[in-house]
């Protein structure tokens, strides 16, 4: 017995992050959604190398069905649209555009939202009230309506649509951050830190911030899926990305008129949006379960 490697009773206590990772890996559905999302990201990243053609080049064969149909052609895997542009190339470039814009929107919205949320939770009642009332107002406005009004004021086009979507997403981050900070401030370990003489900044960066991170991460995945959807919706309504851009919603709105003659030009871009949203939502759900957050 004395030579046994397990002489003393040992137990390894996993760190929080490794516990989360283990929980997430056990969830098969969320894991497969993560793989799908990673694939979509890779496609977006290497779009110029994956797409066989330039998304704007027009070929002679317009409204060519996908390659698996009898009158399809192998050189146009998913067929062509009404102007003879290769649909596969447009969708691949669309993934790059949609994800790039959505990431940009989420970065802006989450940083402004977290900043305002922390300010609201940590400063005096007046600043808190002003910030919260403004956020209440933005929350009361239907998101697409607010985006439409902003776009109508500063004109349609991609950058303006992006700002509109970002503004719409900010209040959720403010609320989550503020409520999480308020909840943490009441806990005993924070009081203990205060008694130890921690400065306000240290208290914030070392005790509060790591503990509100799970809620914020879940909110980021939610916001990411909303951003992808709203950008596509604005594109569909003709207020976001304009015609030559291969944005998924814009492609859908262009092909709306050809729904009976070329149904694949409607079905495929929608399928791309749908699978992107589904995988983001599943990953978000999986993360929330893995981090044992209840909403």
């Amino acid at each position: 017995m004395i030579h046994s490697p397990q002489f003393y009773q040992q137990s390894v206590i996993p760190s929080t992050v490794s516990r989360w990772t283990n929980n997430f890996l056990k969830n098969k559905l969320a894991l497969s959604a993560f793989v799908l999302l990673a694939l979509i990201f890779l496609v977006a990243l290497f779009a110029p190398w994956i797409a066989p053609y330039d998304p704007a080049i027009q070929f002679e064969n317009t409204k060519l069905p996908p390659a698996w149909y009898d009158d399809g052609m192998a050189r146009h895997l998913l067929g062509t649209d009404d102007l003879g542009r290769d649909l596969f190339s447009r969708l691949v470039h669309g993934a790059r555009l949609s994800l790039k814009l959505a990431i940009f929107v989420v970065v802006i919205a989450s940083s402004i939202g977290m900043l305002l949320g922390s300010l609201s939770a940590l400063s005096n009642v007046w600043i808190d009230q002003i910030i919260m009332r403004v956020m209440d107002l933005i929350l009361a406005l239907p998101s697409l309506l607010l985006a439409i009004v902003i776009v109508a004021l500063i004109g349609p086009g991609l950058p303006n649509a992006i700002y509109a979507v970002a503004i719409v997403l900010i209040p959720h981050f403010v609320l989550i951050t503020r409520n999480a900070i308020k909840a943490e401030l009441g806990k005993e370990y924070v009081t203990a830190m205060m008694l130890d003489g921690a400065t306000k900044v240290r208290l914030f960066t070392h005790s509060i911030l790591p503990n509100i991170l799970p809620s914020v991460i879940v909110q980021i995945t939610l916001a990411f899926s909303t951003a992808v959807l709203e950008i596509a919706a604005l594109g569909f309504l003709g207020l976001g990305a304009q015609a030559p851009y291969p944005e998924w919603g814009t492609i859908l709105s262009e092909s709306h008129a050809y729904i009976t003659i070329a149904p694949w030009t409607v079905a495929l871009p929608g399928l791309a949006i749908f699978f992107t949203l589904l995988s983001i939502n599943l990953v978000g759900e999986g993360l929330r379960d893995a981090m044992e957050l209840e909403q």
């Binding site: 009332r133 009361a140 406005l141 998101s143 309506l145 919603g249 859908l252 729904i259 409607v266």
Partner: protein
């Protein structure tokens, strides 16, 4: 109790105040300042505060400006287009509730069994569905391929129905034409696809909320007591668990109004539905900022009022909150 109503009333006033501040701010940003009427134009001067009070005075008199497209009063136009949207959204909410509540209860009863997993994953699919695409797919399948549903609009062009209330289902029944009943059926058929498209996301949300609220309720002590008393199963579910689960459900129903309005903008475009969404989009395409301003103000006030009303309702139905000081 009165203190709660008073507090909610104050929040309502505060909400409407910030809203008018916001719309006033927007009206100042317009390329040419927003003029509500000739009388309003005369009152505009250099003082922002004075301008704001004049703006509020004219709004409260119902002077919301004239549409640049049609030349009619924006407020009148809102009430012309609003019934079509209200009819569609009401039916979509009913559709979502009638399907969502039983599905959520059924999933909660079979927690973690395959039925529950099937329902939960279906709601995730519904939640991830871009509704503009979903609408087009339904039109392609049921209207264009199978031909069992009309493609768009509220009623077939062969029916001539006089708008009395603005609600097509009521107007067709009130009509004294010989085809009134046929027109009613026709209007119902036109409602089916838009209702499904608009109701999908609320349906997914209601199902999930009902499921989690019922799971919470079913695992509580009073349900164990009810079971121990030997109450019939149906009674435990429907009158004990569901009544307590209704509180989070009512809250979520109130929050859906914002989601529904976002949805109508898209649904009305797909189905050429002559409602608020179509009206506002037309205003954006033609850059009619007066209409847009009026529409934003009307819809946002509506959302604020409904949210406060739901909050009061939640306090009324929940004894825990009703008796709280």
């Amino acid at each position: 109790m009165t203190s709660i109503i008073f507090r909610q009333f104050l929040l309502l006033i505060l909400g409407l105040f910030t809203l008018t501040l916001f719309t006033f701010g927007i009206s100042q940003l317009f390329p040419d300042p927003l003029i509500l009427s000739d009388a309003h134009a005369k009152t505009i001067n250099d003082s922002l505060i004075e301008n704001y009070f004049n703006y509020i005075a004219f709004l409260s008199q119902g002077e919301w400006g004239l549409s640049r497209i049609s030349g009619r009063s924006v407020l009148d136009e809102f009430f012309i287009y609003f019934p079509a949207t209200l009819e569609l959204t009401t039916i979509a909410i009913i559709f979502a509730l009638v399907l969502g509540l039983p599905l959520g209860i059924y999933a909660a009863e079979n927690k973690n069994k395959w039925q529950d997993k099937l329902i939960v994953s279906t709601t995730l699919i519904g939640y991830s569905m871009p509704i503009f695409w979903w609408g087009m797919l339904l039109v392609l399948l049921f209207a264009l391929t199978l031909g069992i549903s009309p493609v768009a609009s509220r009623i077939g062009f062969e029916y001539d129905i006089l708008p009395v209330t603005g609600f097509m289902l009521i107007d067709t029944l009130l009509s004294d034409q010989p085809y009134a009943l046929a027109a009613f059926q026709n209007a119902l058929q036109h409602l089916v696809l838009p209702t499904i498209v608009l109701g999908t996301i609320p349906l997914a949300i209601f199902t999930r909320v009902t499921r989690s609220a019922m799971i919470d309720a079913l695992s509580s002590d009073y349900i164990r007591t009810a079971k121990a008393k030997g109450l019939p199963y149906d009674r435990i579910i429907w009158s004990h668990a569901l009544r307590n689960a209704m509180i989070p459900i009512v809250t979520v129903i109130g929050l859906q109004i914002s989601v529904l309005i976002t949805g109508t903008l898209i649904t009305e475009k797909i189905f050429a539905w002559p409602g608020i969404g179509k009206w506002l989009l037309e205003a954006v395409y033609r850059r009619d900022l007066v209409t847009l301003h009026g529409g934003l103000l009307a819809i946002a006030s509506l959302v604020i009022i409904v949210n406060i009303a739901v909050e009061v309702l939640v306090h009324l139905v929940n004894p825990k909150l009703r008796h709280k000081k």
